[in-house]
Symmetry: C2
Subunit: 474 residues, 2 copies
């Protein structure tokens, strides 16, 4: 062991000591080498403070949402967004900027209209769920039968909905961490096939959203194999309230529904990639990013222009710092996330052999509010680096959450399922589902200072993960 190695280990031990939680009853964690020098940690702190002083994140999301606007997976607009991103990332000075193209099933919304015909005629605000088939061109007209939950729909007798439209309520409740989206979102994802099994002609659901505005929330649905494919749409929450008030009056409800989405076998998509190549271990990769596609209704500001902007701004701060980390930082602006994490699956497929070289990853895809919690899913050795990150993030108002499960981010799910270590910088999502997948997901909802706080957290994670030599794999 050379003197310099001994000195480095001592300094690391000091850093870890500083980073250790104070005042807990737990035994002190054993010092684990992170290969992070005090200068490296200091650099992370400097980058963090620079981010808090202002970043290019706002300009990036402003430009993406203004110059491209909505960018549905597979659309010409998503292709324009890839070109836009490649051009911007090259101009910024990133290395190895490229598109990894793939194809997806195509789907476009078309027209969407609904009306209550009886007992009280009036229009309804709806939107087609992504992937849904259409109605006959003239629409369909049928009695509406209401269910209070997906479970209640599941309990209906087969054939009991023959010739009818099923309506399911199931009002989503707010959470800070977004953890109830899986629970409430199941209705959107699987409801059509459950209704079809009972004989229904179509499914209408209360929007998977927490607002009380007349914006219906779209989002992807799936058909089960071997079940009739019926059209599915979401009512805005005030319209769902209206349907429920009418239903309480006891008279039968008749509804007209006309949806004309168009599906196609194949449409182009792709992941946009940019790098800062590592100075010592260029083959080892730290992944950050957001997804470039959005739903077609809004301009994809909080979902996920913000994530694209936050992670690009974090990488750009490192690029401009003049210091290159040991490992490669790979910024991935994912394609076709909204329609089933298709960019994530395609990436894993294309890079499966190099998966072990991916040391850790995270994604920003939960809006534009401030980060309040850090969660991780890494080895004990990796935990020592997370401890340092945690120390640097505490002044930003970021608390330590679960160290057993991160949540990662949707596009990393395929790789995390295959073993990739991950970390999540959890944004405050209390209001996220007010805007999610609606016309109202636009730039005016984003606070530039909150974006910069996000960038500050991402730059700390990105620099430290990429400048360490720790094996995060468990």
């Amino acid at each position: 062991m050379t003197v310099s190695v001994v000195r480095a280990r001592l300094l690391l031990a000091c850093a870890l000591l500083l980073a250790a939680p104070v005042g807990t009853a737990a035994e002190p964690a054993p010092a684990t080498p992170t290969a992070l020098s005090p200068a490296s940690i200091e650099h992370a702190r400097t980058l963090r403070d620079q981010a808090l002083d202002g970043t290019m994140a706002w300009d990036m999301v402003e430009a993406l949402t203004t110059e491209i606007g909505p960018r549905l997976a597979g659309s010409e607009a998503e292709a324009r967004a890839r070109d836009w991103a490649v051009s911007r990332l090259r101009t910024m000075g990133f290395e190895n900027v490229r598109v990894e193209p793939f194809t997806i099933p195509g789907w476009e919304r078309g027209e969407e209209h609904a009306a209550l015909l009886a007992p009280f005629p009036q229009p309804l605000e709806i939107t087609t769920l992504g992937g849904s088939v259409g109605t006959p061109a003239a629409g369909l007209e049928a009695e509406l039968v209401s269910f209070e939950s997906l479970a209640a729909l599941r309990a209906a007798a087969p054939g009991s909905l023959d010739g009818k439209i099923a309506y399911v309520s199931h009002a989503m409740q707010r959470t800070q961490d977004g953890s109830s989206y899986g629970f409430y979102g199941e209705l959107r994802r699987v409801g059509a096939s459950v209704a079809a099994e009972k004989g229904a002609l179509a499914l209408l659901i209360r929007s998977i959203g927490t607002d009380s505005h007349r914006f219906p929330h779209t989002g992807q649905m799936r058909y089960a194999e071997g079940v009739a494919r019926i059209p599915a749409a979401a009512l805005s929450n005030p319209d769902a309230d209206q349907i429920e008030r009418v239903a309480q009056r006891g008279q039968p409800l008749r509804v007209h529904l006309a949806l004309s989405p168009q599906a196609s076998a194949e449409a182009p998509s792709g992941n946009v990639i940019a790098e800062i190549v590592g100075r010592e271990r260029p083959e080892e990769i730290v992944i950050i990013g957001g997804h470039l596609d959005s739903w077609d209704l809004g301009t994809g500001a909080i979902d996920d222009g913000a994530g694209v902007a936050i992670t690009t701004a974090a990488a750009k701060l490192i690029l401009d710092s003049g210091k290159r980390p040991r490992r490669t930082i790979r910024l991935i602006l994912w394609g076709a996330e909204e329609v089933g994490l298709l960019g994530g699956y395609e990436y894993l497929e294309a890079h499966r052999e190099q998966l072990p070289q991916h040391v850790i990853g995270t994604e920003s895809d939960f809006g534009a509010e401030r980060i309040w919690q850090l969660t991780a899913q890494v080895s004990p050795a990796g935990q020592a680096v997370v401890d340092i990150m945690s120390e640097l993030l505490a002044p930003l108002g970021v608390a330590r959450g679960s160290m057993d499960k991160s949540g990662s981010g949707p596009d990393l799910v395929p790789m995390v399922e295959a073993g990739l270590p991950s970390l999540r910088l959890v944004q405050n999502g209390t209001d996220y589902f007010d805007l999610h997948h609606t016309h109202d997901d636009t730039l005016d909802k984003i606070d530039p200072a909150a974006l910069d706080q996000n960038v500050a957290a991402y730059v700390v994670f990105t620099w430290l993960a990429a400048d360490s030599t720790v094996n995060f794999w468990r």
Copy 2:
């Protein structure tokens, strides 16, 4: 003078003394006979407190917005609303329940689509202004020229907009009393003809609204005589922001606009009237009410289901109290307000000879928030009654405002211009123009407790005005 008259006058003097402002430097107001007995004033107080304990206002607006929904002036839905109101008012026990029918020019919205074609193709959220002509069936496509205000549009040279679409910003700011609606709303009312005079093919405006949601705000517009009639529509505020960000980038904007409203020469409307006939002076009339029609986009909850409900509930409390006031209370649920106060003009036309028998009037048409101010426009003698009202309203958080000009309410404008005394119970309108004339004007925006506070204020006004014998005319 009989003993009983002397006694009554003494009691009135006592009432006035109690009602006089305390602790001001002003000289005591001279005692003016109001003919209001202490028992009458006490009855007003009782009715007020009953209202605060809960009224039928919420049920009324719930039923109107659910069972009828949108009710555009001249439409079949407005006719249904009249039938609904007549039936309800008769069931409640009001006297002389009737419709005073009239006809108006017909107008229906049709389809409305807009898109930015260049430099950044994307859809835009718009709505046609009420009364606008349509575009050619295929829509029109033209360069967009931006103006920062109506004044800037007026200053453009004739012919300078030949073949172009004019866009005017002019972002409305919040006020508590709604007083800036006239100023900002002028763009909507007259802008199309100003743009046409410069050669424009069409007018797009920033919505006259204070929210940042993707709901465009409709509202009536007018064409000037002798000027080409061009189509006019409003962009939602986030879309207006978007257009302005794009324009700042310096490249020419091209826009596609397709509007298909349908006008007709004649459509049915009417005012619904219900009364509590006065016990001593049945020919003298106190008017309260709201308007029954709404724009077609929302369900007309705050505009003006709330006003209908508040004033009906106030009248119903008096009806149910078992005491009849001296004068007749006439509840008018106005028709065709949104399209130019047509119900108000028709009423004046039909009742011009009886105008002097209308002793005072007011209308609730500024949403569903709490009342914070009382303004009046009455004789000095009438002011003595207003003083008593003011005393009873102070505990509800209602302050005295101008005693020279009331603001009355839109449907009373024709009569107030002809001399009718009026009073206004001013609601807090800080958020009113977030929802006004949008899809989002729905029941969920109404707080039942705030409605009841409104009813409490209206019942005080209505009882005291109708039970006094004062001449409010100036």
